[in-house]
C-alpha cells in the first residue's frame, strides 16, 4: 500500500490519529528493547546464549520495522528517518524499555515481563479494525512465541539458583517494578483506539490479563509477587522520557548521522 492508497482509503482523521499513535507505541517499544538487547552482543554469560539473544534482538528490530513501514504508508516519514532522526519527545515507548540493561538478571526479567505484555497486547490486536495491522501481528506473535520459551526457563533458573543469582533477581524485581506500570498506558488516544476497534482492550484489561499470566511464573520461580507495579513519573506514551532515551537514540543513530545521505 502506498501513501496515495492510504489517503484514498479515506481514513477519517480521528481514526488515523489513533492508529498512528498506536503504531508508534508498538514500533518504539520494540525498537528500544531490540537495541538494548543488541548491547549484550559478545557480553552474554555464555556464547550460546549470546547468539540466541542477538537473534531475539534482531527479531524485535524486525518487528519495529514492520510497524514503521505501516506508519510510512500512512504518510509518516520513512522507517530509517523515524528510527534515526526523530527527537526523543516524538517517541512513544514505555520508559521502562529505554533504561540501560543492568545485569543479566534484570535483562532477562524485563524482557520476559515485556514479552508477556506484548503477547497480551498483540492478542488484543488480532481483530483490529485496521487489517494490515491485524495480519502482521498474527505473524509477529508466532515469532514471539519462541522468545517466551527462551526467557521463561532463564528467569526461573536464575530465581531458583539461590546465592548471587537469586539476590540479583530479587533486586531486579524491585527496580523493574518501579517503572513497569508505564507499559500498560495507551497514552492520550486510548479511548479513540478502543472506540475505533483498533485494539480490543484498554489498559486495565491489558493489565488484568498480563497479571493472570505473570503471577504463576513468579510462583514457579519462587519469587514474591510485589503487587501492582508503580507508574513512572514520565509517561513515555505521551512523549515524556528519561535522558536514557536521548542517549539510546544517539548511540543507535551514530553511523546514520555520520553521513545522512549515504546509501546502504
Amino acid at each position: 500500500m502506498t501513501m496515495e492508497q492510504a489517503a484514498q482509503m479515506g481514513l477519517e482523521s480521528g481514526y488515523r490519529q489513533a492508529l498512528t499513535a498506536l503504531l508508534y507505541q508498538l514500533a518504539d517499544d520494540e525498537l528500544c528493547l531490540g537495541h538494548r538487547d543488541s548491547e549484550w552482543l559478545g557480553l552474554a554469560p555464555d556464547i550460546e546464549g549470546d547468539v540466541a539473544f542477538s537473534s531475539i534482538a534482531q527479531d524485535e528490530v524486525g518487528h519495529a520495522v514492520f510497524y514503521l513501514e505501516r506508519l510510512h504508508e500512512l504518510g509518516e516519514k520513512d522507517p530509517d528517518s523515524l528510527a534515526f532522526f526523530r527527537g526523543a519527545e516524538a517517541w512513544r515507548n514505555a520508559v521502562l524499555l529505554e533504561q540501560p540493561n543492568g545485569d543479566w538478571a534484570r535483562t532477562i526479567l524485563r524482557h520476559f515481563l515485556y514479552d508477556l505484555f506484548d503477547d497480551v497486547r498483540t492478542e488484543a490486536l488480532l481483530h483490529s479494525s485496521y487489517e494490515p495491522l491485524a495480519q502482521g501481528v498474527a505473524k509477529i506473535r508466532r515469532e514471539e512465541h519462541y522468545h517466551l520459551l527462551h526467557l521463561k526457563p532463564w528467569l526461573i533458573r536464575l530465581a531458583r539458583a539461590g546465592g548471587d543469582a537469586q539476590e540479583r533477581m530479587e533486586q531486579a524485581v524491585m527496580e523493574v517494578w518501579a517503572q513497569l506500570g508505564g507499559l500498560f498506558s495507551l497514552g492520550a488516544e486510548e479511548e479513540e483506539m478502543i472506540h475505533h476497534g483498533l485494539i480490543a482492550w484498554g489498559r486495565e484489561e491489558l493489565y488484568r490479563r498480563w497479571e493472570d499470566r505473570a503471577k504463576p511464573v513468579f510462583a514457579e520461580a519462587g519469587l514474591k509477587w510485589p503487587g501492582p507495579p508503580s507508574v513512572p513519573e514520565q509517561d513515555g506514551r505521551r512523549g515524556r522520557h528519561t535522558d536514557h532515551l536521548t542517549e539510546l537514540i544517539r548511540t543507535m543513530s551514530e553511523v546514520a548521522v555520520g553521513d545522512p545521505a549515504a546509501r546502504w
Binding site: 550460546e48 546464549g49 547468539v51 540466541a52 537473534s55 520459551l149 527462551h150 526457563p153
Partner: protein, 126 residues
Amino acid sequence: MADRREYEVFEVFVRKKKTDAHVHVGSLNAPSPDIALTTARENFLRRENAVNLWVVPRGEIHETPCDEGDWFARELDRKYREVSGYSENGRLWKTYRERALYLEEIVQDLHPPSQGNRPRPRRERT
C-alpha cells in the same frame, strides 16, 4: 566448586523435514535440556528451517571404544554380502526386453529341458 556441574554438553540433532532422519549438527553448553533446546534453535537454525530438534546430554551417549581397532575388523572376503551384482540388472533387462520373442522361445521358456520332471499343476489341468 569443581564438581558442581552448572553446565553440561548437549549433542544437537536436527530433523529438517518430516521425511528426514535426525542428523547430528554439533554440540553446545547449556544448564538444562529446555535451555539447550531453545539455544540450539538459534545456534543451529538461525537461517534454516526444521521440523524437530533433539538434544542429548553427551554423557548419555554410549560409544564403541576408540582405541580398539578389532571392533570394526573386516579381514576376509565379504563380496557375497555386497549388492554390486544388482547393477547388472539394468543392462540385462534392457537387452531382453528390447528383443521381440518368437513363440518357440516362449514355449522353451515355459518348458526348460532341465526341469522336465517338475510338476506343473496349471498345465496338467488343461
